[in-house]
């Protein structure tokens, strides 16, 4: 009944502003001058009235005010602000092209209305792609996910990993979107690199709490990454040659001013380097690659079509061939490969200056495969033995989203979507062809098909010049194995402007997640399995409460302080000793279901403009788990319960040609379970007696990285050398701990560290 009343209240709120007063609606698109790229989140503000709006994901904005003469101020971080005088009535289309700011001098912010304190959204951070590209890079590879790990409330997990753990959540609880398409495994090389090639990326937004109703499906975070659209005016390219990989991006007009393309590729070449050294019977290697592509077409004044895709793969391979005097040829091959593929088409249509619609249809696939094959060629006969294991997930989806801006006091977003999921929890194929046997057997759990329907509505309501709120509902229906699950998830956020520079914010959200990730390692392997909810494994549910303050200093320094409390129900862990590598039995029998909760405070300081830019984040947090059948039902700290987490990064432009950057990270050591004693076992063996689950801490993690970039402008192009040092003071951070004995024969624990001081050099070019 309460939910019905809430919905009625929303409907009443929505309908009350459809008035026939004399209004003027100004709408249009904001794009970058010179390239035509649409700008996401650019601010349109009416000085003196405390009224404003922002562009949506396609650069569209609309603002409706009583007919009058007023000024609109357009601003976007890193771009020169513009001011337009508006007068008259009816509708007006004003498209804006914004020029990038030149020069390195400090910029004093004169208006605070586009800063963080004015947004209703909290627990959200936009990371400028230029900042990401300027930060020190591991082995010279700029990494979006590694930059995200610098934000407060977001932890990296193990050393070197690009996985993220947000506000005590698990690795499966992050919705990572690339052009609106979920990417299920966003890592290469066992997590050391992410799949996002920074040259192909236009914007990155991370949301840790206070989720707007348009997002759903994960408990802990949304990482919304958008690819570049492509330069509509001229052909442009950039690339880099690094120690482990090279990359090249090309973008340009298909039809000048109307349509464009972007294509970007990256590949490692360790295998190519190693190839000349492998002259024996055994050959092997590893590589990964990414391919991003996008095209967009202006189909008229009111329609725009975007097509984009991503394809990436990791592959380990080994091959051994033997020839015994021409009588027996043996060929052994083994492969381990995994990768993502996404494809998306989006069609924007502007129904009216106040109503904007977007149709999206997408496909997303993740697959993992390991195989071993032996072929024996004997005189007169051939034998073949094949063992192959594969797993994965794929989604096919269609959705429609609306943006409706009836007046200056409301910004309504609504949408509906359908996703057909196919889960492949693991199948093992055994193939034998020989004189004695002819077998081709596949054992495993059948594909699981699930259908998901989502619908949402949210309204960003301006209640007064100082008070704004965002109220929304997200509904999900999920059908799997003849069972239907559904949930209504309320989302509420509010902002009160205490002064022009300072605001107080609060939010409450419920999030539900209808899929689980089975992982029995702590490092995020490609073998981790995505599985749907079932009658035995219920829907994950989270409630998150957050409150905080946001402040922007006149120099442009943004400061936010937030506290949060988050509960997570129906989260899963593998039973002790259970293994993923089992194809014949049901995974549901291998897991335990429990709950978790996390609370803490975060401080974030960011400076986006000027000669010196950077960010600093500190998190003080507690994260616990409780499972009936783990740790004897007692509460225990989560593996990534990290009491203190501090990160600081700075970029300093020494001159037009030299840029310095540095970062330093500190985190409390990961919680681990340690053995406390041995005793004799049933069969005379030595049995380890474990202490409390996650009752001990690994040594703390800290690391400093530096880099320097030397740029030079040539006649028609620009080149740069980037020299970096990862882990500059050679800190041996723990990757894992194991038991051993020392030289005296006494018991000892030892830690394995992965990355010592690592210098790198990268050559970059742009034209």
């Amino acid at each position: 009944m309460t939910k019905i009343k809430f919905i009625l209240f929303l409907v009443a709120t929505v309908s009350c502003f459809v008035t026939g007063a004399q209004n003027i609606t100004v709408s249009g698109y904001i794009s970058e001058a010179g390239s035509g790229e649409r700008l996401i989140g650019a601010t349109v503000f009416v000085p003196g009235r405390n009224i404003g709006t922002t562009t949506n994901a396609y650069g569209f904005y609309s603002i409706t005010l009583p007919a009058d003469t007023f000024t609109l101020r357009y601003s976007y971080i890193g771009y020169q602000s513009q001011v337009k005088q508006i007068s008259g009535k009816g509708s007006q289309q004003v498209n804006i092209e914004m020029k990038q700011e030149k020069g390195l001098e400090e910029v004093v912010i004169t208006s605070q209305k586009d800063a963080i304190q004015s947004r209703t959204q909290m627990s959200s951070i936009d990371l400028p792609i230029q900042t990401i590209k300027s930060l020190p890079a591991f082995l010279g590879e700029v990494d979006v996910m590694r930059a995200i790990q610098l934000l407060p409330g977001i932890q990296a997990g193990n050393e070197g990993s690009t996985g993220i753990y947000v506000r005590g959540g698990g690795p499966d609880q992050n919705l990572i979107l690339l052009d609106g398409v979920p990417v299920y495994n966003a890592s290469h090389l066992f997590g050391f690199f992410s799949v996002f090639n920074a040259d192909a990326i236009r914007s990155v937004e991370v949301i840790k709490g206070g989720f707007p109703a348009r997002y759903g499906g994960r408990l802990s975070s949304v990482v919304d990454i958008n690819m570049k659209e492509g330069n509509k005016e001229k052909l442009h390219g950039e690339g880099g040659i690094g120690l482990i990989a090279s990359r090249l991006t090309l973008e340009g007009p298909i039809q000048r001013g109307k349509s464009s393309f972007m294509i970007s590729g990256r590949r490692t070449y360790y295998d190519l380097i190693a190839k000349p050294f492998m002259r024996g019977a055994v050959r092997g290697g590893y590589y990964f690659y990414d391919l991003n592509g996008k095209a967009n077409f202006q189909l008229g004044k009111k329609d725009h079509l975007y097509i984009s895709g991503y394809f990436g793969n990791d592959k380990f391979y080994a091959r051994q061939s033997n020839n015994s005097n021409g009588l027996l040829n043996t060929d052994f091959r083994t492969n381990l490969q995994w990768g993502n593929a996404t494809a998306v088409g989006r069609w924007n249509h502007e129904f009216s200056p106040k109503l904007f619609g977007n149709l999206t249809t997408y496909y997303s696939r993740y697959r993992f495969m390991v195989s071993a094959q032996t072929k024996n060629q004997l005189v007169g006969s051939n034998e073949e033995y094949l063992l192959k294991y594969s797993s994965g997930i794929n989604d096919k989806a269609v959705k429609y989203d609306f943006d409706y801006l009836p007046g200056a006091n409301h910004y309504i977003k609504a949408g509906v979507g359908f996703i057909a999921h196919t889960y492949k929890p693991g199948a093992q194929q055994t193939k034998i062809r020989s004189i004695l046997a002819n077998q081709d057997t596949t054992i495993g759990v059948d594909d699981i098909h699930a259908n998901e329907i989502d619908a949402y509505i949210e309204d960003d309501i301006r209640i007064s010049s100082r008070f704004k709120t965002n109220i929304g509902l997200h509904w999900t229906g999920f059908s799997v194995r003849n069972q239907f699950y559904h949930s209504i998830q309320p989302r509420v956020a509010a902002r009160y402007l205490i002064t022009d520079e300072l605001s107080a914010k609060a939010s409450f959200v419920q999030m539900n997640q209808f899929i689980h990730l089975l992982t029995n390692s702590s490092i995020g392997l490609p073998t981790d399995l995505w599985v749907p909810v079932t009658d035995k494994v219920p829907v994950q549910k989270s409630y998150q409460y957050a409150a905080g303050m946001a402040y922007t200093h006149r120099t442009g320094i943004e400061v936010s302080v937030e506290g949060y409390y988050k509960t997570m129900d129906n989260i899963i862990e593998y039973k002790e000793g259970a293994s993923f590598f089992n194809t014949a039995t049901n995974w549901e029998d291998k897991i335990e279901i429990g709950k978790g909760w996390s609370y803490g405070g975060e401080l974030f300081v960011q400076k986006k403009k000027g000669r010196f830019t950077g960010l600093m984040g500190y998190t003080l947090s507690w994260t616990n788990r409780q499972f009936d059948n783990l740790n004897m039902g007692k509460v225990y700290p989560y593996r990534y319960d990290r009491r203190h987490d501090f990160k600081i990064a700075g970029i300093y432009s020494l001159t037009d040609r030299i840029e310095l950057s540095a970062e330093w990270l500190y985190g409390t050591g990961n919680a681990i379970t340690l053995p406390v004693a041995y005793h004799s076992g049933l069969e005379g063996d030595e049995v380890l007696v474990y202490g409390e689950r996650n009752g001990f801490r690994m040594p703390s993690y800290h690391r400093g990285d530096v880099s320097i970039k030397f740029s030079k402008q040539k006649k028609n192009w620009e080149r740069a050398w980037v020299v970096g040092v990862y882990n500059v003071y050679n800190r041996r951070n723990p990757f894992y701990v194991y038991s051993s004995t020392n030289s005296s024969g006494n018991n000892a624990f030892k830690q394995m560290s992965l990355f010592p001081i690592i210098p790198s050099i990268t050559y970059q070019f742009k034209f």
């Binding site: 120690l243 360790y270 380097i273 190693a274 000349p276 050294f277 054992i443 029995n520 390692s521 702590s522 490092i523 039973k575 002790e576 000793g577 259970a578 293994s579 089992n582 014949a584 039995t585 049901n586 029998d589 004897m632 681990i672 379970t673 340690l674 053995p675 406390v676 004693a677 041995y678 005793h679 004799s680 076992g681 049933l682 069969e683 005379g684 030595e686 049995v687 380890l688 007696v689 474990y690 202490g691 001990f696 690994m698 041996r732 894992y736 701990v737 194991y738 038991s739 020392n742 005296s744 006494n746 018991n747 000892a748 624990f749 030892k750 394995m752 560290s753 990355f755 010592p756 690592i758």
Partner: protein, 351 residues
């Protein structure tokens, strides 16, 4: 720069990075764990008492993985409602892994009876374990066969357990092989000659080559040692398959009552016949297939023990397997079983 030089530089760099990833010794944390009495036993109905007792080794700073045998320990057994009696410590012949000392009594263990074992030591303290011996049940085996499984000689058997619907049961199937020393003799010149002696073997071979019908026999001596035979199951109702892998070799096959539900339940097991794969023909013997009814707490312990691999050691990336026993103020497990045993001679011998 020549391409070959670049290859060498890049290769070296990759090698350097790979090799500098290193280990570092950590100080052991100050773990608050005192030595505790450890009790290990499986009390089998209608058999005599045999309990092993020792002490744990705390994993503290500068400690060694060395099990001091705990002397001066007193063990007693108290059947519920009956007077207690002592278990006697005795010297052991085979002390290769003497982490614990054996205590025994010739008294018979009665089914459907609860026993409390008490171990007391003046310095380490007192530990107790209470366990109920399950009642009788019946089982049978049919369709035993030699097969090849996983490229090795194996035995296949269909085991039927006759479950009693009146109470909850937990069943365990395990297989031990009692190794037999075999000596082969042949009759020649009015005496039995040992064919294991090289000179005699030459005589034997020459007789056979000459077409002489040689009388022969084999003498078998059973060792007192048993070796555990790996067992495979693809029965989805077994806990092994639920928690593990049909291709994995198990120490024990574990079945819960709720799948049997008071009926006759047949499950197929495949038993690895050789002691280990490197000794295909070296050691032969009699195979004992034991079907046991065990209490729930012992079943759960065995289930965890099935997943525990003592050879792996500790590594913080792997989820730990905790073995939770039933010894209060101590460690270990005093289990109990009602056992139905089947013995088979699968191996053939002779010369």
């Amino acid at each position: 720069m020549k391409r070959g030089t670049i290859h060498i530089i890049m290769g070296l760099l990759a090698t350097v990075i790979a090799f500098v990833a290193c280990t570092k010794k950590l100080e052991l944390p100050d773990i608050p764990h005192e030595k505790k009495i450890t009790l290990i036993a499986e009390l089998v109905a209608n058999d005599s008492f045999y309990v092993r007792a020792g002490q744990s080794v705390p994993l503290t700073r500068n400690s060694s993985l060395y099990f001091d045998l705990l002397r001066n320990m007193k063990l007693s057994v108290e059947p519920v409602g009956l007077p207690a009696f002592a278990l006697t410590e005795y010297a052991e012949e085979f002390t290769g892994q003497a982490y614990t000392l054996p205590f025994a009594s010739s008294q018979k263990i009665a089914p459907n009876t609860t026993y409390q074992i008490t171990a007391a030591h003046p310095e380490v303290g007192t530990a107790t374990a209470k366990i109920m011996i399950p009642g009788p049940f019946t089982a049978s085996i049919i369709d035993t066969a030699h097969i090849q499984y996983s490229s090795a000689d194996a035995l296949q058997a269909d085991i039927t357990i006759n479950d009693d619907a009146a109470s909850e049961h937990y069943y365990v199937i395990e297989v031990l092989k009692q190794i037999v020393n075999i000596r082969n003799y042949f009759y020649h010149n009015n005496q039995w000659l040992d064919a294991g002696i090289y000179a005699n073997k030459l005589i034997y071979d020459s007789l056979v080559a000459a077409g002489v019908q040689v009388q022969k026999h084999s003498d078998t001596t059973f060792q007192r040692a048993y070796t555990r035979q790996g067992v495979y199951s693809n029965d989805p109702n077994t806990e092994n398959v639920k928690d593990g892998d049909i291709f994995a070799m198990n120490k024990r096959i574990l079945l819960k009552d709720n799948y049997l539900n008071g009926q006759n339940y047949t499950t197929r097991v495949i038993i690895r016949n050789t002691v280990n794969e490197f000794e295909e023909d070296a050691r032969k013997g009699v195979v004992h297939i034991m079907v046991k009814s065990v209490p729930k707490e012992y079943f759960e312990f065995l289930k965890a023990y099935e997943q525990y691999d003592p050879s792996v050691g500790f590594n913080s990336l792997a989820p730990p397997v905790k073995l939770t026993g039933n010894v209060e103020n101590g460690l270990g497990m005093v289990g109990a079983a009602y056992e139905v045993r089947f013995s088979y001679w699968f191996d053939t011998w002779g010369f």
